[in-house]
């Protein structure tokens, strides 16, 4: 068998790896520019503050759910747990008269408790994550409404005691400028998440469990413990998201939150997290989150009616996920090297060595040899093009011939069957 050490051309290499990671950020930039040109007053600082403000309520839970999806699990409860925790914290603040900080801690603790519950059910009782988290979604909606006695909870506004917590997410200077300080917190949580995923045992085992849970288990990974951890992480980020929601939207209504989880999962998938598990990054998720929030703030800015807003959001989400599937398919495709590819690769190698010679000649000042090298390069390139075209045509003819043969054989077979 011929030596098949085939070098991919730089273009092919970029096409496979670079494009994969450049797709999502490119989509974000394109969307932002699109709304800037067609929307009203989009390229302004207040709009930037609004985009960031609209990213919190899916941002934090999206970071948490990335961990879960990488393990090939899913968490449908993150949205409702976030809102249930927020309303329980608000009830503690307003009805039970707890001070601000314990109320905020309660939000985190309640969310983590739900995360722990999810984790236990999935890892120990081996229940399907979809069902468990669906149940938790309903339970948390109910618990939130029960504890709050079905009353909405209004958090303190700036100026009231406890209103300082809003400054964690949006700081207003004395002369009225708004500074989106919550972006710092979102960034911090993203950095922590990234470090966890890329540089710790937790992260490595998360990817391992997602790629092949049985192999991980047989290799000695305590799958039960690590699988439970990712759901606790999802719960914790839901708690932070609950505080963020209260800081931005002030009033928390009971039994809300359904729908947020799907947007967070969409954000994670747009950012490159595969629903099949084993792939995903935090930064990809962040890009996905900002794509969702740019959409959410940009579509109203275009004076589109509400039905068109929801329509386009869905179209873009499907488009983004299709891109993700195309991308995963391309990188994991098993490439069968055809004769054309082998030939092309060896000719490209020859041409690049000729080019190196040319560069050497020109720098040495030998004009004649340089001219000769240049003409050889042109000849070689032309030969490459012609031969590749001929080989491709041959391949196509071969394929047609084979298909005709197959069809003839098929017909023969059917005839044979009929005679039987």
């Amino acid at each position: 068998m011929a030596d098949v050490s085939v070098q991919k051309s730089p273009l092919q290499r970029f096409r496979e790896r670079g494009l994969k990671s450049a797709l999502a950020p490119a989509a974000l930039i394109i969307l932002y520019l699109f709304f800037g040109f067609f929307g009203l007053d989009y390229f302004s600082y207040p709009t930037l503050v609004n985009i960031i403000g609209a990213s919190y309520y899916i941002g934090f839970i999206a970071i948490g759910v990335t961990f879960v999806i990488i393990t090939a699990g899913i968490d449908l409860s993150i949205g409702t747990v976030m809102m249930a925790a927020a309303i329980i914290g608000g009830t503690a603040l307003k009805t039970w008269h707890w001070p601000m900080i314990p109320s905020m801690l309660l939000i985190i603790v309640v969310a983590m408790a739900f995360g722990l519950f999810n984790g236990l059910m999935v890892s120990r009782l081996k229940m399907p994550p979809f069902i468990v988290t669906l149940g938790t979604m309903l339970i948390s909606m109910g618990v939130g409404a029960i504890v709050s006695n079905v009353r909405s909870a209004t958090f303190p506004i700036r100026g009231e005691p406890g209103g300082w917590f809003k400054n964690i997410f949006l700081y207003i200077t004395p002369n009225g400028t708004e500074i989106p300080t919550g972006a710092i917190l979102l960034l911090a949580v993203a950095v922590i998440g990234h470090i966890l995923l890329s540089s710790t045992k937790l992260g490595r085992y998360t990817y391992a469990i997602g790629s092949n849970k049985e192999a991980a288990r047989l290799s000695g990974v305590d799958v039960k413990k690590w699988e439970m951890m990712v759901y606790v992480i999802a719960g914790t980020t839901s708690g932070i998201g609950g505080i963020a929601y209260a800081a931005i939207y002030t009033t928390v209504l009971p039994a809300q939150g359904q729908g947020f989880e799907l947007m967070a999962i969409a954000a994670a998938v747009i950012g490159g997290t595969s629903l099949y598990g084993g792939f995903g990054t935090i930064w990809g998720t962040i890009i996905g989150v900002f794509i969702m929030s740019v959409l959410a703030t940009g579509l109203p800015a275009m004076n589109l009616q509400s039905q068109w807003q929801t329509f386009f959001t869905g179209v873009i989400v499907i488009g983004a996920v299709l891109l993700d599937m195309y991308r995963t398919k391309k990188t994991s495709e098993v490439r069968i090297e055809r004769a054309v590819d082998v030939y092309r690769a060896s000719m490209m190698e020859k041409i690049s060595s000729l080019k190196r010679e040319l560069a050497a000649f020109t720098s040495a000042g030998e004009a004649e040899k340089a001219a000769e090298a240049r003409s050889r390069i042109t000849a070689a390139t032309r030969e490459l093009k012609d031969t590749v075209a001929k080989m491709k045509a041959e391949e196509r003819a071969e394929a047609v011939r084979i298909r005709a043969e197959e069809k003839a054989a098929d017909q023969e077979f059917t005839e044979m069957l009929k005679q039987k």
Partner: protein, 377 residues
């Protein structure tokens, strides 16, 4: 995992569930206690109330009014509602379950009449009186709804226009085709009866005021925005005064806030004089988009905002004069009257519609007792 450990895990999971459910028992006992009331010697009258949702504080006040009436009349009642005003399917299910319990009467605030049409026909054939409340059950089959206890939403929103107009009258009169002005009619959806009635009531009253006192004929006015709010007889060709009806992508606070931000972003460019928010949903959106209202007087001086209903956040905004004021209904009497109407219908007495009315409140009058009792937290 061996059997003992598995049972152990199941016990832990069950413990979790019980822990989560304990609040339910604590509260549940409290809830049913108040509505049991004096047991009648004959069959106890059972009246379920199906509301449009539990989202807003408003419904809690309706429930308290109904519970007070139920206690006084010795009626057994339940108060239910879907999680949000968009969950039509869940409300239909609740109504079905209620009818299966063989009630004496039903109080209903339908999210969508067509979805409950079959159940309404069933109620007619089973001789179960249905009393509408809040937005009632518009376009119900004949004889299904015995009476309705509601606010006249159309008139209530007209009241808002009556109060907004004097504050912006000068700018309206100065408007021309080359210097147009805009008034925003901000509604959380285009489907529920009470919200659409309010949107249309504001629109029509504002058009009337502009024509009669604003020195602009109908040919100068243009109604634009969500098509559900543009009637066949609405002026659509004017260029001087524009009434823009804005509906967010969904009633959720997050979408309402994004819509509100988009509106506030064009206050300067479109010369927006005033914004009317026709329910708590859109009020919460405007508040979230303006730092709980505090940036309204500083960043948008002269912008007049009028809200609807109450709630802690809105009351704070009204008392601080971020809003010019708001329209309040009488949710307590809506609940009370509808329960009483249902009781009378069961007894066979004649019943008629009750308009529970609406009032305008601002920082000056909101603490007077007759207004304060209508404003819930």
């Amino acid at each position: 995992m061996n059997a003992v450990r598995r049972t152990g895990m199941l016990l832990v999971a069950a413990l979790f569930l019980v822990a989560f459910a304990i609040p339910a028992f604590a509260n549940g006992a409290k809830e049913s206690g108040t509505s049991q009331g004096a047991a009648a010697t004959s069959k106890t009258i059972f009246i379920p109330m199906i509301s449009k949702g539990f989202e807003f504080q408003y419904w809690q006040t309706v429930m308290h009014g109904a519970q007070a009436a139920a206690k006084k009349l010795g009626v057994k009642m339940t108060f239910e509602g879907p999680p949000s005003e968009a969950d039509i399917q869940q409300q239909v299910q609740m109504l079905q379950n209620a009818m299966a319990k063989n009630p004496s009467a039903i109080c209903l605030a339908a999210l969508d009449t067509n979805s409950v049409m079959d159940l309404l026909n069933q109620a007619v054939s089973r001789h179960i009186p249905v009393i509408g409340f809040d937005s009632g059950v518009p376009n119900a089959p004949k004889g299904a709804i015995y009476a309705t206890a509601a606010t006249n939403s159309y008139a209530a929103a007209g009241l808002a226009a009556d109060h907004m107009f004097p504050a912006i009258k000068d700018k309206i009169m100065a408007a021309t085709a080359s210097n147009p002005v805009t008034i925003i009619d901000f509604n959380q959806d285009a489907t529920s009866q009470s919200v659409t009635d309010r949107g249309k009531g504001f629109r029509d009253e504002m058009i009337k005021l502009i024509e009669t006192q604003g020195n602009h004929p109908a040919s100068d006015i243009k109604v634009t925005g969500n098509p559900a709010y543009i009637a066949a007889d609405s002026p659509t060709s004017g260029k001087a005064v524009i009434i823009d009806v804005v509906v967010p992508a969904s009633p959720r606070t997050t979408d309402a806030t994004n819509s509100a931000q988009a509106v506030l972003n064009r206050v300067q460019a479109d010369h927006i004089l005033g914004i009317f928010c026709s329910n708590e949903g859109t009020v919460n959106g405007i508040l979230a988009a303006s730092n709980d209202g505090s940036s309204l007087p500083t960043q948008y001086p002269g912008l007049v905002v009028i809200g609807f209903d109450a709630g802690a956040a809105q009351k704070a905004a009204v008392s601080k004069q971020y809003f010019l004021g708001s329209i309040t209904q009488d949710p307590y009497m809506i609940g009370y009257d509808s329960m009483e109407l249902a009781y009378k219908a069961v007894k066979g007495e004649p019943v008629a519609n009750i308009d529970t009315g609406a009032k305008f409140y601002n920082y000056q009058n909101m603490n007077q007792p007759d207004i304060a009792q209508l404003l819930y937290n």
